[in-house]
Protein backbone atom coordinates (compact mmCIF):
# COMPACT_ATOMS: atom_id res chain seq x y z
CA UNK A 1 0.00 0.00 0.00
CA UNK A 2 2.86 2.39 0.71
CA UNK A 3 3.97 1.88 -2.91
CA UNK A 4 0.59 3.21 -4.09
CA UNK A 5 0.69 6.03 -1.54
CA UNK A 6 4.12 7.03 -2.85
CA UNK A 7 2.79 7.14 -6.40
CA UNK A 8 -0.17 9.30 -5.34
CA UNK A 9 2.23 11.61 -3.54
CA UNK A 10 4.44 11.76 -6.64
CA UNK A 11 1.35 12.92 -8.54
CA UNK A 12 1.22 15.85 -6.13
CA UNK A 13 -1.45 14.67 -3.71
CA UNK A 14 -0.38 14.39 -0.06
CA UNK A 15 -1.11 11.06 1.61
CA UNK A 16 -1.10 9.68 5.13
CA UNK A 17 -1.00 5.96 5.86
CA UNK A 18 -2.17 4.33 9.07
CA UNK A 19 -0.84 0.94 10.13
CA UNK A 20 -0.76 -1.47 13.04
CA UNK A 21 2.29 -3.52 12.02
CA UNK A 22 5.35 -1.57 13.10
CA UNK A 23 7.83 -3.65 11.12
CA UNK A 24 5.89 -3.12 7.89
CA UNK A 25 5.80 0.65 8.40
CA UNK A 26 9.50 0.81 9.12
CA UNK A 27 10.49 -1.53 6.27
CA UNK A 28 8.65 0.42 3.59
CA UNK A 29 7.26 3.71 4.89
CA UNK A 30 4.72 5.80 3.03
CA UNK A 31 5.31 9.56 2.86
CA UNK A 32 3.50 10.02 6.22
CA UNK A 33 2.84 7.14 8.60
CA UNK A 34 0.72 6.75 11.69
CA UNK A 35 1.22 3.72 13.93
CA UNK A 36 -1.56 2.69 16.26
CA UNK A 37 -1.23 -0.25 18.66
CA UNK A 38 -4.45 -1.89 17.53
CA UNK A 39 -4.86 -5.14 15.64
CA UNK A 40 -5.34 -6.01 12.00
CA UNK A 41 -8.96 -5.71 10.92
CA UNK A 42 -9.71 -3.07 13.57
CA UNK A 43 -7.24 -0.36 12.65
CA UNK A 44 -9.68 2.46 13.47
CA UNK A 45 -11.16 0.70 16.48
CA UNK A 46 -13.88 -1.67 17.53
CA UNK A 47 -17.26 -2.21 15.85
CA UNK A 48 -19.78 0.44 16.82
CA UNK A 49 -17.21 2.51 18.73
CA UNK A 50 -17.85 5.69 16.79
CA UNK A 51 -16.02 8.02 19.16
CA UNK A 52 -12.95 5.77 19.10
CA UNK A 53 -13.02 5.46 15.31
CA UNK A 54 -13.49 9.21 14.85
CA UNK A 55 -10.65 9.95 17.28
CA UNK A 56 -8.23 7.71 15.36
CA UNK A 57 -9.36 9.14 12.01
CA UNK A 58 -8.98 12.72 13.24
CA UNK A 59 -5.53 12.04 14.69
CA UNK A 60 -4.38 10.34 11.49
CA UNK A 61 -5.57 13.14 9.20
CA UNK A 62 -3.96 15.57 11.63
CA UNK A 63 -0.52 14.47 10.47
CA UNK A 64 -1.19 15.77 6.94
CA UNK A 65 -0.44 19.45 7.62
CA UNK A 66 2.25 18.75 10.25
CA UNK A 67 4.68 16.34 8.58
CA UNK A 68 7.82 17.90 7.14
CA UNK A 69 10.09 14.84 6.98
CA UNK A 70 9.39 12.20 4.27
CA UNK A 71 8.70 8.80 5.78
CA UNK A 72 7.89 10.16 9.23
CA UNK A 73 6.25 7.64 11.59
CA UNK A 74 4.08 9.00 14.39
CA UNK A 75 2.78 6.64 17.05
CA UNK A 76 -0.65 7.41 18.47
CA UNK A 77 -0.96 7.17 22.26
CA UNK A 78 -4.16 5.10 22.28
CA UNK A 79 -4.05 1.62 23.82
CA UNK A 80 -6.27 -1.21 22.75
CA UNK A 81 -9.27 -1.49 25.10
CA UNK A 82 -7.49 0.46 27.82
CA UNK A 83 -8.48 3.90 26.72
CA UNK A 84 -11.33 6.19 27.66
CA UNK A 85 -12.29 8.41 24.77
CA UNK A 86 -13.42 11.84 25.89
CA UNK A 87 -16.64 13.32 24.61
CA UNK A 88 -16.14 15.74 21.77
CA UNK A 89 -18.59 18.40 22.99
CA UNK A 90 -15.80 20.39 24.58
CA UNK A 91 -13.82 20.60 21.36
Amino acid sequence: MSLVARQIETAGIPTVMIGVVEHALRALPAPRNVLVRFRLGQVFGEPGAQLQQRTILRATLGLLPRASVPGVIVELPYRWRRETYEAEAAR
Binding site: Q7, I13, V21, G41, L61, P70
Partner: protein, 171 residues
Protein backbone atom coordinates in the same frame (compact mmCIF):
# COMPACT_ATOMS: atom_id res chain seq x y z
CA UNK B 1 -8.23 -26.22 1.27
CA UNK B 2 -5.98 -23.29 0.25
CA UNK B 3 -8.44 -20.55 1.12
CA UNK B 4 -9.56 -22.22 4.35
CA UNK B 5 -5.94 -22.64 5.42
CA UNK B 6 -5.21 -18.98 4.64
CA UNK B 7 -8.26 -17.88 6.63
CA UNK B 8 -7.25 -20.08 9.55
CA UNK B 9 -3.74 -18.60 9.59
CA UNK B 10 -5.21 -15.08 9.37
CA UNK B 11 -7.50 -15.68 12.32
CA UNK B 12 -4.52 -16.84 14.39
CA UNK B 13 -2.13 -14.01 13.63
CA UNK B 14 -4.83 -11.34 13.79
CA UNK B 15 -5.78 -12.56 17.27
CA UNK B 16 -2.24 -12.41 18.62
CA UNK B 17 -0.66 -9.22 17.35
CA UNK B 18 2.90 -10.36 18.07
CA UNK B 19 2.42 -12.99 15.39
CA UNK B 20 1.35 -10.28 12.94
CA UNK B 21 4.67 -8.53 13.56
CA UNK B 22 6.60 -11.79 13.13
CA UNK B 23 4.74 -12.52 9.91
CA UNK B 24 5.68 -9.07 8.59
CA UNK B 25 9.34 -9.70 9.40
CA UNK B 26 9.27 -13.01 7.58
CA UNK B 27 7.61 -11.56 4.50
CA UNK B 28 9.52 -8.28 4.64
CA UNK B 29 12.82 -10.12 4.46
CA UNK B 30 12.13 -10.86 0.84
CA UNK B 31 13.23 -7.93 -1.26
CA UNK B 32 11.56 -4.75 -0.14
CA UNK B 33 12.75 -1.60 -1.91
CA UNK B 34 13.76 1.10 0.53
CA UNK B 35 14.06 4.57 -0.85
CA UNK B 36 13.12 7.96 0.46
CA UNK B 37 9.41 8.54 -0.14
CA UNK B 38 8.29 11.82 -1.75
CA UNK B 39 6.45 14.50 0.23
CA UNK B 40 3.88 16.83 -1.34
CA UNK B 41 2.66 19.81 0.69
CA UNK B 42 -0.97 20.01 1.80
CA UNK B 43 -2.38 22.69 -0.54
CA UNK B 44 -4.86 24.19 1.93
CA UNK B 45 -6.04 23.68 5.52
CA UNK B 46 -7.69 20.35 6.25
CA UNK B 47 -10.96 22.20 6.84
CA UNK B 48 -10.95 23.02 3.11
CA UNK B 49 -9.49 19.73 1.80
CA UNK B 50 -11.37 17.11 -0.19
CA UNK B 51 -10.21 13.78 1.26
CA UNK B 52 -10.22 10.42 -0.51
CA UNK B 53 -9.83 6.94 0.98
CA UNK B 54 -7.53 4.19 -0.24
CA UNK B 55 -7.91 0.87 1.52
CA UNK B 56 -6.15 -2.47 1.13
CA UNK B 57 -8.74 -4.17 3.32
CA UNK B 58 -10.39 -5.85 0.32
CA UNK B 59 -13.42 -3.52 0.36
CA UNK B 60 -15.65 -3.39 -2.72
CA UNK B 61 -19.28 -2.91 -3.76
CA UNK B 62 -21.42 -6.03 -3.42
CA UNK B 63 -22.10 -5.88 -7.19
CA UNK B 64 -18.40 -5.79 -8.08
CA UNK B 65 -16.27 -8.91 -8.46
CA UNK B 66 -14.30 -9.86 -5.37
CA UNK B 67 -10.53 -10.07 -5.37
CA UNK B 68 -8.63 -13.16 -6.50
CA UNK B 69 -8.05 -15.28 -3.40
CA UNK B 70 -6.58 -18.23 -5.30
CA UNK B 71 -3.45 -16.67 -6.80
CA UNK B 72 -0.77 -16.99 -4.08
CA UNK B 73 0.71 -13.66 -5.28
CA UNK B 74 -2.58 -11.91 -4.45
CA UNK B 75 -4.51 -9.56 -6.71
CA UNK B 76 -3.19 -6.12 -7.70
CA UNK B 77 -6.46 -4.92 -9.24
CA UNK B 78 -8.57 -2.21 -7.62
CA UNK B 79 -12.24 -1.34 -7.24
CA UNK B 80 -13.68 2.16 -7.51
CA UNK B 81 -16.02 2.96 -4.63
CA UNK B 82 -18.50 5.84 -5.01
CA UNK B 83 -18.11 8.54 -2.35
CA UNK B 84 -21.82 8.50 -1.51
CA UNK B 85 -22.11 4.69 -1.24
CA UNK B 86 -23.89 3.28 1.80
CA UNK B 87 -21.84 1.00 4.04
CA UNK B 88 -24.37 -1.82 3.61
CA UNK B 89 -23.66 -1.79 -0.14
CA UNK B 90 -20.03 -2.69 0.52
CA UNK B 91 -18.41 -6.00 1.41
CA UNK B 92 -14.94 -7.46 1.98
CA UNK B 93 -13.11 -10.14 0.03
CA UNK B 94 -9.80 -10.83 1.77
CA UNK B 95 -8.52 -14.07 3.30
CA UNK B 96 -5.30 -12.66 4.74
CA UNK B 97 -6.68 -10.95 7.84
CA UNK B 98 -9.58 -11.66 10.16
CA UNK B 99 -12.33 -9.22 9.08
CA UNK B 100 -15.20 -10.43 11.24
CA UNK B 101 -15.20 -7.14 13.19
CA UNK B 102 -15.22 -5.12 9.96
CA UNK B 103 -18.02 -7.28 8.58
CA UNK B 104 -20.13 -5.98 11.49
CA UNK B 105 -18.95 -2.37 11.14
CA UNK B 106 -17.00 -1.47 8.02
CA UNK B 107 -15.69 1.67 9.70
CA UNK B 108 -13.22 -0.54 11.61
CA UNK B 109 -11.15 -0.61 8.41
CA UNK B 110 -12.88 1.84 6.03
CA UNK B 111 -14.01 4.90 8.01
CA UNK B 112 -16.24 6.44 5.34
CA UNK B 113 -19.10 7.25 7.73
CA UNK B 114 -16.68 8.77 10.24
CA UNK B 115 -15.16 10.89 7.44
CA UNK B 116 -18.61 12.20 6.48
CA UNK B 117 -19.13 13.13 10.15
CA UNK B 118 -15.88 15.12 10.24
CA UNK B 119 -17.04 16.95 7.11
CA UNK B 120 -20.41 17.75 8.70
CA UNK B 121 -18.57 19.00 11.79
CA UNK B 122 -16.48 21.33 9.63
CA UNK B 123 -13.17 19.62 10.47
CA UNK B 124 -12.60 18.35 6.91
CA UNK B 125 -13.56 20.19 3.72
CA UNK B 126 -15.23 17.39 1.80
CA UNK B 127 -15.38 13.74 0.80
CA UNK B 128 -13.91 12.64 -2.53
CA UNK B 129 -16.41 11.51 -5.19
CA UNK B 130 -14.52 8.23 -5.57
CA UNK B 131 -12.50 6.02 -3.24
CA UNK B 132 -10.34 2.98 -4.02
CA UNK B 133 -10.54 -0.53 -2.63
CA UNK B 134 -7.67 -2.97 -3.01
CA UNK B 135 -6.26 -5.95 -1.15
CA UNK B 136 -2.98 -6.23 0.66
CA UNK B 137 -0.75 -9.32 0.56
CA UNK B 138 0.56 -8.62 -2.95
CA UNK B 139 3.71 -10.44 -4.04
CA UNK B 140 5.74 -11.43 -7.08
CA UNK B 141 4.22 -10.66 -10.48
CA UNK B 142 1.21 -9.00 -8.89
CA UNK B 143 3.49 -6.67 -6.99
CA UNK B 144 5.11 -5.65 -10.27
CA UNK B 145 1.65 -5.01 -11.74
CA UNK B 146 0.78 -2.98 -8.65
CA UNK B 147 3.72 -0.65 -9.22
CA UNK B 148 3.58 -0.49 -13.03
CA UNK B 149 -0.18 -0.20 -13.56
CA UNK B 150 -2.42 0.02 -10.49
CA UNK B 151 -0.51 2.70 -8.62
CA UNK B 152 -0.43 4.93 -11.71
CA UNK B 153 -4.15 4.51 -12.38
CA UNK B 154 -5.13 5.10 -8.77
CA UNK B 155 -3.02 8.26 -8.61
CA UNK B 156 -4.61 9.50 -11.86
CA UNK B 157 -8.10 8.79 -10.49
CA UNK B 158 -7.55 10.93 -7.40
CA UNK B 159 -5.89 13.64 -9.48
CA UNK B 160 -8.81 13.71 -11.96
CA UNK B 161 -11.22 14.15 -9.03
CA UNK B 162 -9.13 17.06 -7.68
CA UNK B 163 -8.66 15.29 -4.37
CA UNK B 164 -6.49 17.29 -1.94
CA UNK B 165 -5.38 14.45 0.34
CA UNK B 166 -5.65 10.66 0.56
CA UNK B 167 -5.86 8.46 3.65
CA UNK B 168 -4.38 5.00 3.04
CA UNK B 169 -5.39 2.25 5.45
CA UNK B 170 -4.83 -1.52 5.65
CA UNK B 171 -7.06 -4.44 6.55
Amino acid sequence: MGRRWNRFKSAIYTRWHGLTELHARYRGARGATIAQPPLAPLPRPLTACRVGLLTTAGVHHVKQHGFDMVNPDGDASYRVIAGDVRSDELTITHDYYDHRAADRDLNCVFPLERLHELVRAGEVGGVAPRHVGMMGHILGAERRRLVAVTAQEVAALFRDDRVDAVLASPG
